[in-house]
Symmetry: C2
Subunit: 213 residues, 2 copies
């Protein structure tokens, strides 16, 4: 645990291109990252995604092949696969309602709220609902990137992969899930990563932030 | 600044339903949150969204009307509107390339990379590109939620609003932007917020995290 500020953590992290395959995350660092993902907020508390933690070498090699051979997938010690619900369903929302009721007690408010949510979500196209669920996974991705930096663990967010292939490799389709984004976790190989010495590039605040006073 | 861990920060925060309109964020806390948003990672470093910081009372009232009258919009002292690019364009990518070149020097790698990106993105439907840009804004939303908690500032992520109305109120369409998510910032009214005393509800890790060893 460190006393660095969030800004310092965000400046420390970078999309690691070369990881050291001899180093592995200790369990407590992995746990801290997963716990941050679990606590990340989502729309109406639905948490409409799951995270698959892959350490199986054969699966990792297959996933790397489905991801333009990006090596951090096998050089890192753990791969997180964020997989969003393929749709909102009665059953999935009912599980959320059951958990809310269990934790907060029987409140008419809860049922009314989620009945309205169902009336809104369930008639929509699966693709619209999946897109919404995927956005929630991205909130957790943002939180996970911070969590990894806090733990001084390197990570590489990756969108460049074939979701259908990864879904097949991990048997996600039959679980009603679709892979959204990959996040290898590990430790940078500081002597071999071409990106590490390069300056971090971000737009100036005045080109992306405007004020309406 | 505090020494709380990320997990402690995530447990402290909640989607504040009632803010105290007499309290206002000091400039340095707003700046820290905006700086975290600016430093949030995005796909290929494109940062394909902007943030509008609204403090204008008339605009805030109009936005609140377009958001089912959710009161934190006017009770908070600042409203962040995350607005994603409506499409990827040659000009927008060229600006990214120019910035990269300015910061890292003239590298053939940079041009090749973004030429490939253009060949991939530009032929796609605007809606596909907007959806991709919106996801990047959600990474920054996740980071912003952490940044606010670090600063002990309350925030309320909101998807329940009419994007076309907010786009019109803030004249976003003519800037090629579409509003994605709202984030009022302020301070909780601890005595009047019905949600504050309720237990925070999250799924157990074993219902959303699986391992493939």
């Amino acid at each position: 645990m460190t006393n660095r500020t969030l800004i310092e953590q965000l400046n420390w992290r970078y999309a690691t291109k070369k990881m050291d395959p001899t180093k592995s995350l200790p369990q407590e660092k992995l746990d801290a990252i997963l716990e941050a993902i679990r606590m990340a907020p989502t729309s109406s508390g639905t948490q409409p995604f799951e995270v698959i933690v892959v350490t199986n070498k054969d699966k990792l090699q297959l996933i790397q092949k489905a991801a333009s051979d990006q090596t951090p997938i096998t050089e890192g010690s753990h791969l997180l696969v964020f997989a969003a619900w393929d749709n909102y369903t009665d059953e999935r929302i009912d599980e959320v309602v059951d958990l809310m009721t269990q934790e907060r007690g029987e409140l008419p408010l809860i049922n009314t709220y989620y009945d309205n949510l169902k009336a809104n979500y369930l008639p929509r196209d699966a693709e619209v609902n999946y897109a919404h669920a995927a956005r929630q996974a991205y909130i957790a991705l943002g939180v996970a990137l911070v969590a990894a930096a806090e733990q001084e663990v390197d990570s590489t967010p990756m969108e460049g992969f074939s979701p259908p292939h990864v879904d097949e490799i991990l048997s996600l389709t039959e679980r009603g899930l679709r892979s959204v984004v990959l996040l290898p976790l590990g430790y940078r190989d500081a002597s071999a990563d071409w990106l590490l010495p390069m300056k971090k590039v971000r737009k100036e605040q005045n080109t992306m932030i405007t004020h309406v006073d």
